[in-house]
């Protein structure tokens, strides 16, 4: 074949606005408003913990102050972040445009207003805080409707999609029970055993909604970000089956009022976690990338999940003192030991990615002009410090409540506030690239 030689010349610019994925991606501020609201909730939670930490040991798990704190973390931080991430993740998983992004903006407004009213109502002593809970309920219903529509539109569910679908089903039970509990606390006419309903509500939320969502996302995202792959899904399948059996057993046992088999369900749930950890071990062993803050956060989350499972077994078998502080330690192990590190790890990838996608991908690069990598849009050093403070916070708080030590709780509260402040600062740094140009700090090799 006669092929004339060619010369390397400057590449022509791409067509203006050439960023094909943006055609089906949700608008930038749709997921981002969730992340900003969540970062604020996380910071407010940490600040409230610092402000009130001297009183925490004196309150029962049912106290309004503690209930407000818990829901600021579960609704304002964890659920808010998951909703934002899910908006982005579903497009990636299914590759189809999102159904009805306009409705999701309404869902966000209801969730935000409902959470603010619910937590504020609990803290301010407003008796009708269940009205704010109804706003949360309405907002979540809209999310559920749009997510289910998108799942159906996407066709056959992959492994992550199945976890998402199951988690969404549990979320609907969580908010239903939560709304009924909020109403019943003031009227006392619905449940003869509110504590059993509370145990079911907490576990449906922490295991069914939060954990199954994390597990499903981790199979996809951790494998993708670590450049690993999954050889066999058998351990994950075992984990999914055991988690559902254990959770449904525990919830029914608690709702029906007997709570005689809690130790058995705790064993099943711990076994589910062990199977999941085995699956994740395979992903980490096959990884090709060094441990960056996002992967280190995931490892911290895996440790936190193991501590949470161990505490669950300890409480179920009477090896851990059965008191309100110890129950709070158990819930904190789930929220700060397990869920928060995983969330922070993924958000450190997702937020720079969103800025890259919406700000830099439409630009007309002319190779070899450098474009930023996603890691250039945030501070890795700040992320490492943030993770160190989160680890200190989570284990000081868990230990502080287990041992009923005010000094440890104080240390944990301040560490968490530093972590949340660093996280807010790093998020602001990434968002600053919406306005300011990026310039390479040094030439790449």
């Amino acid at each position: 074949m006669d092929v004339p030689p060619i010369q390397i010349t400057q590449a022509p610019p791409l067509n203006a606005g050439a960023a094909p994925f943006l055609a089906k991606a949700p608008p930038f501020w749709l997921p981002m408003r969730h992340f900003v609201a969540a970062a604020f909730s996380f910071w407010l939670f940490a600040a409230a913990l610092v402000w009130g930490n001297s009183r925490l040991l004196g309150f029962s798990f049912d106290a309004r102050w503690a209930l407000g704190l818990t829901h600021l973390l579960t609704l304002g931080w964890v659920t808010m972040t998951i909703m934002g991430a899910l908006i982005q993740l579903m497009v990636v998983v299914h590759g189809v445009p999102f159904a009805a992004p306009g409705r999701l903006a309404w869902a966000w407004a209801l969730l935000t207003a409902g959470t603010a009213g619910f937590v504020g109502g609990l803290w301010a002593g407003w008796d009708r805080y269940w009205i704010a809970a109804a706003l949360v309920f309405a907002g979540v219903l809209i999310y559920l409707q749009v997510f289910v529509e998108s799942l159906i539109q996407g066709g056959k569910l992959d492994w992550t999609g199945r976890h998402v679908a199951v988690a969404l089903a549990y979320l609907s039970l969580v908010i239903l029970l939560g709304l009924l509990l909020a109403y019943d606390r003031e009227r006392g006419i619905l449940f003869h055993d509110p504590r059993g309903v509370l145990i079911a509500h907490i576990h449906l939320a922490l295991v069914g909604w939060v954990s199954l969502m994390i597990v499903g996302a981790s199979y996809r995202l951790v494998a993708m970000f670590s450049l690993s792959h999954i050889e066999s899904k058998a351990p994950g399948l075992v984990a999914l089956v055991l988690a559902n059996v254990g959770l449904l057993g525990l919830a029914l046992d608690s709702l029906l009022g007997s709570r005689r088999l809690l130790s058995a369900w705790a064993c099943v749930l711990a076994a589910a976690y062990a199977a999941y950890a085995f699956q994740m071990n395979g992903i980490f062993r096959g990884r090709l990338r060094r441990i960056d803050p996002a992967l280190a956060y995931t490892l911290l989350a895996l440790l936190g999940g193991a501590v949470w499972a161990a505490l669950g077994l300890g409480l179920a078998f009477g090896l851990v003192k059965d008191g309100a502080p110890q129950e709070i330690a158990y819930v904190l192990a789930a929220l700060l030991g397990w869920a928060t590190p995983f969330i922070l790890g993924q958000i450190h990838k997702i937020v720079p990615f969103l800025v890259w996608l919406h700000v830099f991908s439409p630009k007309n690069w002319r190779p070899p002009l450098q474009i930023p990598r996603t890691q250039d849009l945030a501070s890795e050093k700040a992320a490492w410090w943030e993770m160190g403070f989160l680890a200190a916070a989570a284990y000081s708080l868990i230990g502080g409540f287990l041992l009923e030590s005010p000094a440890l709780i104080r240390l944990g509260s301040w560490s968490l506030l530093v972590c949340a402040t660093l996280y807010a600062g790093n998020t602001a740094l990434t968002l600053s690239f919406l306005k300011r140009p990026w310039t390479p700090s040094k030439p790449r090799p």
Binding site: M1, D2, V3, P4, P5, I6, Q7, I8, T9, Q10, A11, P12, P13, L14, A18, A19, P20, F21, A25, Q88, V91, V92, V93, H94, G95, M224, F225, L227, S228, H229, G286, R287, L288, R289, R290, K349, F353, W356, L357, F360, S361, W365, R366, P367, P368, Q370, I371, P372, R373, T374, Q375
Partner: protein, 100 residues
């Protein structure tokens, strides 16, 4: 040395996967480069299907190859079979990622 293929691969090496931080050739995303007097066709994949950065990476690859293609038409084909797997990463890439 192929007078066209080598510059094509050199051009593609200027296309960085923004998440991985390496170029698409080093990652092993470029499966084939076909050259005729009228066209240059690059068959390449992405590390994961439906990667949100994927269309941008493909567009960047097209722009890069158009920079050296002269009068030739440039086509970038997204290929999903065989799917990319970590074994396709070059030794240079493994070293850069700290996995070798």
């Amino acid at each position: 040395m192929d007078p066209v293929k080598t510059p094509t691969l050199t051009a593609l090496k200027s296309v960085i996967d923004p998440e991985v931080g390496l170029d698409v050739v080093t990652i092993g995303l470029v499966y084939a480069v076909e050259i005729t007097p009228d066209s240059i066709t690059v068959s390449m994949t992405l590390t994961t299907p439906n990667c949100p950065m994927g269309p941008s990476i493909l567009a960047m690859a097209k722009g890069a190859v158009e920079g050296i293609s002269g009068e030739r038409r440039v086509e970038i084909r997204a290929v999903w079979d065989p799917p990319w797997n970590p074994a396709m990463l070059s030794r240079e890439g493994r070293l850069a990622l700290g996995a070798a």
